[in-house]
Symmetry: C3
Subunit: 208 residues, 3 copies
């Protein structure tokens, strides 16, 4: 079980790093800029979670994540033009990645005995804020604030995890079920192009 | 006394959350984006203060602030069109909010025995940086860097608190006096449209 | 030795603060905004490093850096128009500043027994992220992500420091040698207008 989680964690790191490479090359950043954006996208969410709960040094200072990111960035830059052909595989990694990051975040928050709602929030932050910081560094309004069911999938899966946890479901089974819910909602959202119901009237949207 | 401070704290949280809702709906964010911006506006300043002084977990992970923000955001979205009619009440909440946040920040910094100037800085950060992070996430140059006497009111009230504290004034009386100074300066600034003296020459401003 | 490092540290703080004043006045910020940008540019990198490794309160809350920044900002605003004539001296301060900040960051990371690559990363973060946060607050894509050999000089010098450290070279001598490498690479890069090799094809660059 542990080793599967490790492999998925690495795949998630790679997927996030590649999404950083894609964003950074679109902005014509140099090698160093691309590496930073890839790193921030991969570790930003977990770093913010660690800072908020007071875990230090933050996780990525203590493991080999940074090596994976450097290698991914170099490979990503070399095969930059081919990245568009693997977009579907990327989506798969990314979706599994946010599922795993959500569960990891919720689990760490539960260990510190935080309020259930806060645990779900920290899971969602772990999964989503790498992308938020990536977008800020690229001088864009974070994409997850505006469209797509992305964070919502994390909130749903994270909430399920907290509920099953309160019923005593073991963490392994819980992670599989709740993680699957994240993947399912996110996949359905992309396949059927679902969005959160708009709160804006037709008139307001036409102003834009 | 404690319960009045609690009520004012809640009003401040609500005022800041609503200012987040207003900013986020202007940028046509979705439900999730609006909730994040409301949260960040409310808790961003206190979070940065807690991180800088090493208080962890940060305050809002440990109390019910997040529930107040969620409810405020939902109500704020529903009555979004009416928000303009309550702008004056909002201004009142916001002003009382920054006064209270400033005093809270200064008090926490004094407890850690930091330098007086640093205490004033941390009070100002507590009151103002939620709005700064809100503006960054909305891809704007933070409004308080450019106009209005907002931070200056916090600096004045925070400095007064530190001075009275050094003369042994009790924290309750000190909070009322120094908080009132923040409210007074901020209100006068808005009523008389005061700004910090411009450092730019006429020629420079005409270039813009 | 200690006192020379202190003087260079102060010169670095001043140089970074002035670069903040220059950025902020270009954006026509008010006095308060300029002061914040100057502060963030000076202490942002070290603050991020301290947060990541869990050192709290962060360094600048405990020393007199903030006084140096306030004075520099006031003097910088008054002599704003003359700043262009001292650009070369500024470059010198800034270059010595990033060299010193890099070494300081690497040393602190080595003390916490972090992985060599992480130590270099933390040195580079210390030297470069003040400027990154400055650019984000000014609503620009961070300049070091796009051009100039700046971070690369820090990475080179930081790596050399870690290598020499592993061979038992004393920290004083190591700091002088590795710091000199940062200054040398940065100076050569500016004098000969060197950039990192572009990863973009001519066709891609013409699209922009």
């Amino acid at each position: 079980m542990e080793s599967i989680a490790d492999i998925i964690d690495i795949l998630g790191t790679i997927a996030f790093a590649i999404s950083g490479v894609i964003s950074a090359t679109k902005k014509r950043m140099d090698l160093f800029g691309i590496l930073i954006i890839a790193t921030v996208t991969s570790v930003g969410g977990g770093t913010l979670r660690d800072l908020l709960i007071g875990k230090s040094p933050v996780t990525w200072l203590l493991n080999s994540t940074v090596y994976i990111i450097v290698i991914t960035t170099i490979v990503g830059i070399i095969f930059r033009r081919q990245l568009r052909y693997v977009r579907k595989s990327l989506f798969l990694f990314d979706t599994i990645g946010i599922a795993l990051y959500t569960i990891t975040g919720v689990e760490i928050a539960l260990l510190v005995n935080l309020d259930p709602v806060i645990c779900v929030a920290l899971g969602t932050i772990t999964a989503c804020f790498g992308g938020v910081i990536r977008d800020i560094l690229c001088n864009e309004i974070p994409v997850i604030f505006r469209k797509e069911i992305y964070a919502s999938a994390c909130i749903a899966g994270g909430s399920l995890y907290v509920i099953l946890h309160s019923y005593g479901v073991s963490s392994g089974i819980n992670a599989v079920i709740s993680g699957f819910v994240v993947v399912l909602i996110r996949t359905l959202a992309v396949v059927y192009e679902l969005q959160l119901p708009s709160i804006y009237s037709k008139a307001e949207r036409e102003q834009d």
